[in-house]
Amino acid sequence: MPDTSPAGSAHGASIELIDLTKQYEGAAEPAVDKVSMSIPPGELVVFVGPSGCGKTTTMKMINRIIEPTSGQILIDGQDAMSLDPVELRRGIGYVIQQIGLFPHMTIGENVAVVPRLLGWDKKRTAARVDELLDIVSLDPSSFRDRYPRQLSGGQQQRVGVARALAADPPVMLMDEPFGATDPITRERLQNEFLRLQNEIRKTIIFVTHDFEEALKMGDRIAVLREQSHIAQFATPDQILADPADEYVSSFVGEGAALKRLGLVSVGTAPLQSWGEDASGLPSIPSDVTLREALGVLVGAGSDRVVVRGPDGPIGVLTMATVTSMLEGAGDGDC
């Protein structure tokens, strides 16, 4: 982690969608039908839904890659339609599924695109490029001058994110950004991005068809139907505990309770104090989820597990605590 303020200090902007609609000519129904949504600054909202429900179309209307037919988009109170689209897009980070790195430019040149468009001088741009490559865990001196074709899929994806962050935009649009990689790389990218977002707190719209990813990444999730009608717009925990209808339940599937445990970190659970009698018990680090802790408990056949902090054990977690957190938070499985 760089020691100076990383991706920038600009916090997110608020986004407000008011009756946003997209009607294609000759189509019977609108592709996106009167979507309204309010997103406070710094929140990561996930649009999740089946293919064809319009989630990507809705996202692409925010930076006017697709022009809305009607409705309003307010970014920090300003009407997006009143701005020159080119100017608008320079202030919004854009990461697409196919990544879209420019093959004829080096990695450094790719990342520098928006700063150059904005007229930053060479020194400032170069410094920023190196900073960003560092943030996405790519060593600047070795990657700066390479070409996209020389990078792996996961590396290209990181560059895509770095490129979107370059001019430090308050808003980011991400369309299945980690989709084109294998599950292991994807998980790593997700974790790194969450850590990053924790620091920079931009307002992000994240589109995915993978419900697990939505649960993991989102501060709030918008579960969408056809024409982007909102089935439920709530936090992951709320959706798991209290799905609005059968459609949302179908996403949640079986085992909502376990999934909810997966949202809570062991460190936030009430722990018993650690004593001598706890030696010989299995132990887990404090940053894993309750779901993994449950797995350890069941696997070891024990009803208690030691929780380790950075400087040593900080407490003991019991099976009873885990079960009570399950019950206390609401309904069980659907």
Binding site: V86, R90, I92, Q97, F102, H104, V114, L117, Y147
Partner: protein
Amino acid sequence: MGSFLEYLQKQYDDLLQLAWEHALVTIISVGIGAVIALTVGILVWNKPVSRAGAVAITGAILTIPSFALLGLLIPAFGLGWTPTVIALVLYSLLPITRNTVVGMREVDPAILEAGTGLGMSPWTVTMRVQLPLAWPVILTGIRVSAQLIIGIAAIAAYVLGPGLGEVIFSGLSRLGSANALNQAIAGTVGVIILALIFDAAFVLVRRLTTSRGLRA
């Protein structure tokens, strides 16, 4: 063989001069043609009707025998350089137009969308992203054009156009004389060598102008 070498020795300067003229008229014509064809290609690549029309028209021009096209231009422009260059420019259009259009279309739309999404103006996307990526294909079109023009320029010598064709026609008109064969060989081989030189030059240009990121 002996007489041929003798002939070469005597005519070396003249032949070189003609070869130079031949190369010059090629470069000028393909240059002008490339400017026109590239402009047209950039304007119509994504408009199916205009695109088909442009390709059809330039293709039709190419189907017209060069002798006939020259014949049409002479009443208006006389003999010599002018009708030659006009005809050569017209002939150079199809390969370049077609390859420009194809090259532009082959660029992955996701890359273009990424450019637009980052905030590039449509002009910037075309000039800084699409054209550089389409360039290898476009350059191939220019190369094909040049090869074509070198051959046609030889015929244009009949209407007093510049270049090595003059030597070939000279040999033709002197059927039966000692030097006829020498002239025909010198002219023909000269044109072949010129074509090969141009081809090699294009390989060089391609190396120099294609981004390292594109070389597979």
